[in-house]
Symmetry: C3
């Protein structure tokens, strides 16, 4: 019981997978079903809520409209027919050998630095060097950001090296809430999975990003 | 004795009427008269004042320039000939049956929500429903914001329903100072009058907005 | 021992001269030499440092690259050949009779006010009037900002009057750190020199700006 949201970008490069269990809500009363929602439209009324306001989602089964209620406000929005939404890709089972768990800020710092010199960023790990490296190579300048045992909360050391689009990675990292601990699973020329808890553990977020082929 | 400012927008849709009595000033020494001032130019030196700074307005009768003094700064600006300024429309006596007094923030919340779905906003009251409604109807989505006895400070219940341009309403609401209690007088397809005190009661502001005809 | 930076704008209107003695650094180990650096590129990694972070500059003599290290980050940037950088003009010895020492905020206030009416700003002093004036003359409006004994920290009264480009002056004043006391030396149709300490007195900054000829 709960809400599950899956969103894929048009180019199939990134996919978000959000799970919120019923316990994440003040009250939850729903039968299983699938609705299609325009995320930008949904954000509009939710953004009007003040800190501490409860937000109510209610599906009007007659009009097939989603009613979002915040304080005195009722916002009625048309749903999208789920059949018209491009279905998400089936994911192959991935075996991602390397894993590192860090604070969002460290990840952000590395990605921000990489963005200064290039438009792709490398995630690297070599088992003998006990370090997770975020690096980037520009035409004349280069960036090397090292996270080691002092900074990570957990690690599975393994040979791993993948390159990612900075445009995508920046957007992902920017929207991880402050104070969040993120686990990065990755391999060699494999997608990366960034996972973290939300809602005091009543929800989880997985953000996948396909690699770029290193030339 | 005091200062009165009247400003009308070029399309004659909105009019502001500000009265500041002499008691609103630290010192006041003037004979009656009318001057024309470019409001944007006047804002320039005033915006340089820090919180708590006194601002002095002085009309140099020789040069016909307005001198604005703030801290060590003297700003001399040319006045406009009042005869060249489009004169304000004469207002018909309006009988606006409905009235509700609310905090600016509630009004702002409703107008902001309406802006998400449409470009006009409705103010509605029906005497039997004890509620003041701000609503908006878009092509597929709609907003309904309700203010009731829990949220208003005073009310005169009456049948009233008018539609306004959101572009104008947003600008009006945005410039009402935080913490201000606003009285909204309105009727059915009649202008709305938003009034509030400024300067600890030594001044008052009335902001009128013409209705849009509901189709 | 230390670092000296000289930068001149392409039009030769303004020159900055920064001196940081070795004592300004946590540790300093260098032999004399000159390197060319793209200032915008250098700012990139430095801007990633948090308050309190140490920044390390290291010249890799083999690759001729400058390595900037901040926290876990290593940023490698190509240096410019100093021979290819336009050399700074030799400065004539200037005798600037007037001098006034003020808080940056006062200077900023005056320059900001001048910017409201004109695109050049006058610095004026007349010995009998005990005042330093920042003024500006627009087509219809004018600004006069007065700093006197109440506001300055030191003064050398002398006849002096020069006009400067506001575009340049704004950029200079905007980048003086808050809380800084600035000494302005100027004369009549002579450059102005704005000087102040940085790094708790272990460094000093001199910013020169050529005058505009008053018409």
């Amino acid at each position: 019981m709960g809400i599950r949201v899956r969103a894929v970008d048009p180019a199939n490069v990134a996919m978000d997978d959000l799970n919120l269990s019923a316990s994440a809500f003040e009250s939850y009363d729903a039968t299983p079903g699938v609705i299609g929602v325009d995320l930008d439209r949904l954000w509009d009324p939710v953004s009007l809520a003040n800190k501490g306001d409860l937000v109510q989602l209610h599906l009007d089964t007659e009009s097939r409209k989603l009613v979002v209620a915040v304080a005195g406000l009722k916002f009625q929005m048309a749903c999208l027919d789920p059949a018209t939404i491009r279905s998400e890709p089936t994911l192959p089972e991935l075996e991602l050998p390397a894993s590192v768990t860090v604070d969002r800020d460290a990840l952000r710092q590395g990605v921000k630095a990489a963005d200064l010199v290039a438009d792709h960023v490398g995630f690297r790990m070599t088992p003998d060097e006990e370090v997770f490296r975020i690096d980037a190579e520009g035409d004349t300048d280069s960036v090397d950001f090292r996270i080691d045992a002092d900074d990570w909360e957990a690690v599975t050391l393994a040979e791993a090296s993948s390159l990612f689009s900075l445009d995508y990675m920046k957007k992902i990292v920017r929207t991880v809430p402050a104070g969040t601990t993120v686990t990065i699973d990755f391999g060699t020329e494999f997608p990366a999975m960034l996972s973290y808890d939300i809602g005091d553990g009543d929800g989880s977020m997985i953000r996948m990003l396909a690699p770029r082929i290193e030339t």
